[in-house]
Symmetry: C2
Subunit: 426 residues, 2 copies
């Protein structure tokens, strides 16, 4: 048989313990932030009916980027590319019994078949936060404040990142003034969304393709750079003033060029960018009015955002904000109990048991045939702080050698002191 | 357009906040247990090369139970049905630089296309623990002790559950005494694994199908009920004596009928069962000698086990061991800041900000148009313990009303006392 590859599938990642520590740190920040605002964690399936995305997520995502298949029962299913449709489905299933305002969040893997590059993989984790029920600008501001609080909690300031905010409703109004018919707005939103991803000529050509006149395109360009447009929207004005009352307005800016790529947005939309513009959007979100209706439920509005782990991690690394864990093999172990020789195995077992029963993470070196210095070297390489050596001489006196690897110091202590010593030393 | 279904795909689960609390509790126990023994968390991709499982996971799992597809680049991929092959791949990729004994664990979703039933879904979470490098019975005992510690940590006793232990090496020896050729052992292991899942006649017929004579089958049945066989294995004897030294031998029993279903096991195998035999195996594991070699690496032995969340949850529910969270909507929120009327929005925002800046999970009712009693009723339904009411009269004196929903009591306090009060009350 030919050898199997040790590589993961293209676009997928192996998360070794040292990367896992950083991921758990980041997920911890996400959970803390969401909890601080009263959001409750939930989760949905990784595999969903394909139709769940076909309806509203946007053509590119669905026809080009899903991992989809027929399951063995002939069902058309897709690995979720995002969380919002799952949340909408789950809300619809219990629409009558749930309590509103409903605050939910999830952290889980999502999948998109895109060209892998720095900050982008085909499997990534998404932190998705949704506030469902209220339609007030206050609730828009709250969701944006959650996003900002997360940025702050990982050490980013308003000098590093910015939340660019717009309103699809406002943009629809502005487009109507250019005599762009309503049926055209989804196409024009897609055009706006692509503006920063194409050069000007290609973008103008794209505008012609979707039926805009040269005049309409020129006027559209004007709108996209006009910062004062925001004040034409009472809602947006209130969102900004609320963000000010929440002490986070230094993070927030109006940007008419932000409409986001998902088809289901209907109101306020926003995205987080690094100020230098070196990265893709770190977060994106918006208000959707019609997602629950797809399932036949009563109209119910929601606003939410999603944050992928990969871009945020890249950004934090670039900005030197990642915590410094021991680079290789961050271990939970506080102490290694060595085995002196075959005759002392039971004594070492007794000690490691005692430590664990007192909630002290402890390892036993699981091989009595390995020499003591190799066992200690193992502890050293793994950055385990303490080592216990229990040889026959010490054991005869109910004592052990307690060694601190940081400075190589060691002391002989009585076995009964072990727990209190390990609880007190750092 | 026709309405979308609110149901998840068959065999998949929606995890609402109340189920999520219990899941997080269980995952917390898994993490604590693994860390107590010095295991480090890692994670791998949910999608893996199909060949990773084709090699060694066993025919049924691969040909009938995988969710597999060609990705958009034509790669044959499968949603992981288990964690061990991923761990073996990840170890192989860094075999030279990793430090042994290597202790890894993962918690993540796995997928198997099986008939959904109580305690079995097509998507489930697996807690997978692996000790790679050492081959000693001491390391076998350690892995079994981790499994037992987890059982204990969720409140199960040796009266509730049992770890049934066997050795494939020992069984191979016993089969050779029955003149069953080595090439036949995988089939016979599958036969043994099916014994409790079929009636006796069907099982005997199956034995004939794979080529056993009536005599061989009769002798095999004898072996399967002989408890003393264990003592013929020096290794197993040491495993049991070590478990005794670790004070967990009341959980452990020899059972010649346990061989486990995965093809890659080569030594000690074990599974956890409820004593009443009402559930499927709660955990299963064993030693594998040849997994890393599949990737062209040097031989490296490992032992591990996996625990699915669904059977364990069912068992805990049946035995009344699940923690009692508020059944509906367990909320992290400590206090709801209400909005008295539109003129006091800024004051309420200031207060909710102050609380969050002091790490007190707080919600603002996000709609100034909703009447106060409805806001308070919301807090009550969500079991939020405290409510703050800041009306114009109180605000004029820099005071607020602080209401405890458990007994309906309320007091007027100065705004500056808020944080200290909320930090002290329970």
């Amino acid at each position: 048989m030919s050898k199997l590859t040790t590589l993961p599938v293209k676009g997928f990642r192996d998360i070794y313990p040292e990367q896992m520590s950083i991921r758990q740190w980041l997920f911890g920040k996400m959970r803390e932030t969401a909890n601080l605002f009263g959001y409750q964690e939930c989760d949905g399936p990784i595999l969903e009916p394909f139709d769940l995305y076909a309806a509203k997520s946007g053509e590119e995502l669905v026809t080009q980027q899903t991992f989809s298949m027929k399951d063995r029962g002939g069902r058309d299913v897709a690995m979720r590319p995002e969380f919002t449709p799952t949340h909408a489905r789950m809300v619809s299933a219990r629409q009558q019994e749930l309590i509103y305002p409903l605050r939910w969040f999830s952290i889980g893997p999502c999948f998109r078949y895109e060209a892998p590059q720095k900050g982008r993989g085909r499997e990534f984790y998404q932190f998705d936060v949704e506030l469902i029920g209220p339609t007030s600008p206050l609730s828009d501001a709250e969701i944006i404040a959650v996003a900002i609080k997360l940025l702050q909690s990982v050490g980013l300031t308003s000098k590093d990142v910015v939340v660019k905010i717009n309103s699809r409703k406002l943009m629809e109004f502005k487009l109507s003034l250019l005599n762009i018919p309503k049926s055209q707005t989804p196409n024009v939103f897609r055009l706006i969304d692509k503006k920063d991803k194409m050069n000007e000529d290609a973008w103008k050509k794209y505008a012609t393709t979707i039926g805009l006149s040269t005049d309409q395109t020129k006027n559209l360009q004007k709108i996209l750079t006009d910062r004062d447009v925001a004040f034409e929207s009472e809602e947006l004005t209130e969102v900004f003033s609320t963000l000010k009352d929440m002490d986070v307005s230094s993070f927030a800016e109006y940007d008419a060029g932000v409409v986001r790529g998902l088809d289901y947005y209907t109101g306020t939309v926003f995205e987080v960018r690094d100020r230098q513009g070196a990265f893709r959007a770190v977060m994106g979100g918006g208000r959707y009015d019609n997602l629950v209706e797809l399932f036949g439920g009563q109209p119910l509005s929601g606003i939410g955002f999603a944050c992928g782990d990969m871009v945020l991690m890249e950004l934090l690394e670039e900005y030197g904000k990642l915590p410094k864990f021991p680079r290789i093999n961050p271990t939970p172990t506080r102490v290694l109990v060595t085995i002196f020789n075959e005759s002392t195995v039971r004594d070492s077992l007794r000690m490691v048991n005692l430590l664990r029963n007192n909630n002290i993470p402890a390892e036993l070196y699981p091989d009595s045939k390995v020499k003591l210095d190799k066992q200690i070297k193992y502890a050293d390489r793994k950055s385990i702080p303490f080592v216990i050596i229990a040889g026959p001489n010490e054991l005869a006196k109910q004592q052990v050698v307690f060694k601190k690897l940081a400075d190589g110091s060691q002391q002989v202590i009585s076995e009964s002191q072990l727990v209190s010593l390990l609880t007190s030393v750092s």
